[in-house]
Amino acid sequence: MAAAFIVGVAMTDIGWHERDPHDMGVRVCAEALRDAGLLPSRVDGLISTPHGYMSGTRKMISQRMADCLGIECGLMLDVDSGGNSSSVAVHIARDRIQGGKIKSCLVFAAQREVPPRQIRGDIVGHFHLIKAANSLYDSYQAAYGVISPLPFYAMAIQRYMHLHGIDAEDIARVAVLLREHALRHPQAAYSEPLTVEEVLGSKVLTPPIHRHESSEMHDGAAAVVLVGEELARGDGRAVRVAGMREAHDATSFVPYRGEISRFPCVGRAAHGALEESGYAIADIDVAEVYGAFAGMEPMMYEELGFFAPGEAPAAIAEGRTTHGGEVLINPSGGRLSLGHPAYVTPLLEFVEIVRQLRGEAGERQRQGAAVGLVHTEQGFINGSIVAVLDKANWR
């Protein structure tokens, strides 16, 4: 069967940027194409995402890139599917390439948000954005003034802790570990060490979530170049997309039936991607997992199948998810410490796993990494995409 390969990746530093997202996008696309050794005239497809949740009013983003880089292509799409958007883009690119309709595709995302402090400084002037944030939620949730998913994540984490006897230190330790990972990443938003005491001493935003256990929104950009076998053949740095699956639950944010601390779509996506790839979860050497809160990380590790329900916090404490452990999870620092430009985040996860499988992850390198996993989500983890990646084998 035809396969698709990632042959070029690039990302900006993550933080607060002053540059226009289009400008960040052009530069990161050029860098990814140089990394791939592919000129724009060889690019067959172009897929992108909005520029942010609070600032994403600009349309036709891929079209502008086609003009700026001189790309005449057979696929163009701007995807808006929340946090999953840029992995939906990778998924579509991969399927079109495998189906033989296109030979290559450039996937990019660039995000620049209106900073929350700017909104807090002028509530009236930004009220249209606050109303827009409120209208993400259905009437039965929005009526209570909800403008972020924080309270829903808080309740999921509270129940998870209650059901499995997990204490506050267990969750704080996750934030500390991700910060330790990020200290090895020169492009991460955070470069100061963090302690359990600092996490538990930070402001309680929405109990039980502390400030240091919650991802800030950041700016940044990333790009990924996918090609078919014809263009990839012989590239010793090529990474194969060995399996990929998307799965959604019939929910929008809060599940009106069932357990709020369980996320069935994650397991379905993981199962489908692993089955297609022929690997088992135990084969995964390195993974990037989309947990936007410290308390969500262990739940995601469990839903993906790395650990049994309730067992991830102990595994994390024992060092089983860090350097030297059985699986290195979120070596980039994850959403919490790499930084979280949501529309870009899935591409940042692909960038990290590609660098790991190429052996180009510097101080973060998992020695001998051969099989990697990317997990992304949208909404309140109402939908998930899982990809399994391995090194191309040109025999």
């Binding site: 009236v124 409120n134 209570y144 003034g145 309740m155 209650h162």
Partner: protein
Amino acid sequence: MDTKPYMQDRAAEEFFSRLERGEFQTTRCRGCGETHYPPRVVCPACLGEDMEWVDLPRQGTLLAFTRQADAIRCREPDVLGLVELEAIGNVVTRIDAPFEELSIGIKVAFDTWTSPDGVALHQFRPTT
């Protein structure tokens, strides 16, 4: 600033206008008998559109609770909870009690509450 909540469909308009009259009700499909929460304009079980309004249980179990940090309607103390109504499902609601006095699994009962900007909402309060 217009702070009124938006109504996504006719079922939401009807649900909140019934709350103004102290009625806590949802839709039941006259075609197949399925009861929904939240109320629906189309029955997901049979795609029928002929609905009647039936009472929801006024007693429930507190599944989880938190305090909102930033929200546009409910001011501090802004305790938000998830309440399980037997045989119906989970309801996002205001909890009328101090956060510190709550625990998972306690029994709670329905009440109405009018927000500072004049919106009739439901809330639940511990029964003991």
